[in-house]
Symmetry: C2
Amino acid sequence: SRSINLAVIPGDGIGQEVVAEGLKVLSAVLPQDVKLETKEYDFGARRYHATGETLTDGDLEQLRRHDVILLGAIGDPSVPSGVLERGFLLKLRFAFDHHVNLRPSKLLPGVATPLAGQPEIDFVVVREGTEGPYTGNGGTIRKGTEHEVATEVSVNTAFGVERVVRDAFARAQARPRKKLTLVHKNNVLTFAGHLWTNVFNRVAEEFPEVTTDYIHVDAATIYLVTDPGRFDVIVTDNLFGDIITDLAAAVSGGIGVAASGNINPGREFPSMFEPVHGSAPDIAGQGKADPTATVLSVALLLRHLGYDAEADRIDAAVAADLTERVGKPARSTSEIGDALAVRVAG
Amino acid sequence: SRSINLAVIPGDGIGQEVVAEGLKVLSAVLPQDVKLETKEYDFGARRYHATGETLTDGDLEQLRRHDVILLGAIGDPSVPSGVLERGFLLKLRFAFDHHVNLRPSKLLPGVATPLAGQPEIDFVVVREGTEGPYTGNGGTIRKGTEHEVATEVSVNTAFGVERVVRDAFARAQARPRKKLTLVHKNNVLTFAGHLWTNVFNRVAEEFPEVTTDYIHVDAATIYLVTDPGRFDVIVTDNLFGDIITDLAAAVSGGIGVAASGNINPGREFPSMFEPVHGSAPDIAGQGKADPTATVLSVALLLRHLGYDAEADRIDAAVAADLTERVGKPARSTSEIGDALAVRVAG
Ligand SMILES: CC(C)[C@H](C(=O)O)[C@@H](O)C(=O)O
Ligand SMILES: CC(C)[C@H](C(=O)O)[C@@H](O)C(=O)O
């Protein structure tokens, strides 16, 4: 009999609330024969204040035993910028080699977009997750003086670029339009840019059916607002991916519906799924947060584990729910979760 | 009597056409007593193919003798990516210490924006121009092999950050809303991020009237499409500035009207003014390019030299011209230039 051994990290702020709804929908969609085991972990600001710890080796060892991880949100204004980001979120991505950061953008019917004319948007960003400017390489000398120098080193390897580029080609190959766009800044960042471009062109030969193109990251932000329909799959570096996926989320319905996966495709380590939004402390505990992004992250989680039919049911339920929202009064976090749970079970 | 000794670099593609109109408007707006001397320089793809040169020490020595530089566009698909960017554009910015890269974004009445609801947009980005990931620091080992490693080093100094931050505060102070936003990614790029944040907070004390805030670059792209009215002046690093100013141009009327200045505020070296758009080889030589961005760059140039009244006249002429365009058939490059020249002279 099948089973899913899930680590649950509600985290800070609205994380608690949205994860509860994600689990509700997960339980509702899973077939009877799939045994769902969950274990909750207390990470984030509360734990940091209580113990000074963000993510210990022991924590990593425990998390490693799970098949997969669902995260709500980590972050609170009471913790200095960078502490939880570097000490928890990025540490986990690096420790579990989450080199494919998957962020789909689809503008669903009835969903508001800041763009005029309700354009068609349906693309996926494959963001590299373990290299680039995110490695923490760099340093500071003469800190706090007028002679301070601070460096940040973007580290890019053929190994790291090739595996994420190949993953992106495979995803493009599996989609109807079969189009892959490399986003970089190879006219300025020529060392990393040439590596990315050369690897991309080499791997392209293995995927003759996939149409390819290249766009500089600055120009990509223009297309994302003037012609987002041109994108099918995008592959890009860690930092560029961070930037353009927030923009992509904004144009395709907002971070309330943006899901993401931090994926280790070979499954040597558990992958982690989370909404793109943060902990939103200003609305925490009020039942106002939209759990849709978390529920869509659960769909990505299921797809990663091979439960495609169940993931499809969630996607369909969300699409239907979003369409029916139009013109209706706002519902609470749990009302939305309940409605989605009913739909996926039905 | 007053004089302007201008270096003109038409460059590639539509550069020639738009610069001609920029000069037309400049001549028309200048008072009789100002002597305008211009010298044209041949840089870009043609020169590169003919001589292999992009910008020599001798070129720099000649350019240095001018008060100011007007550039059309540099770049052509026949030249490998990076050659003209690093060999000309960036070389000039670094050689002439253009540390303030000024990019205003104003959505003028009648101008189309991809955003729904025609929001109010009127902000200025002060992008650092001589540091960050643009220094060319970095390298490649084992090039072309499966063991290739490529690095890009972002170099940030207290000296470099402080001067651009101070410039941005002064600009914010001079505007009605007096608001300055720092855009960075200090939760991930903690070395450079802390330097920027600390310098920003320190200089803020000298400008008590200026309201300040901080936004991560990824979140900034969201605000630029959902609430661009929140920005007044933005100060940011070289690469983040590159990315968000293209997005800013897109939402505030497109790169057809986006102007920029590469400024050396102390005037030790000539500053350079240029449209944000590129050489657009696909429409070059057809009289289709909109010279408005170049004309607005001429206004920035005049403001830099202290000709504020003349700069205001150009801005007003462009605003009137854009409003009157609505619903009319497209005009040629020179028709638009003629119309603007008539307006500023009138
Ligand atoms: C919180 C931060 C570390 C993170 C990132 O920069 O990757 C976030 O912006 C994201 O996109 O998941
Ligand atoms: C062409 C390129 C070198 C340049 C840059 O990256 O600065 C351009 O994108 C710009 O914004 O002026």
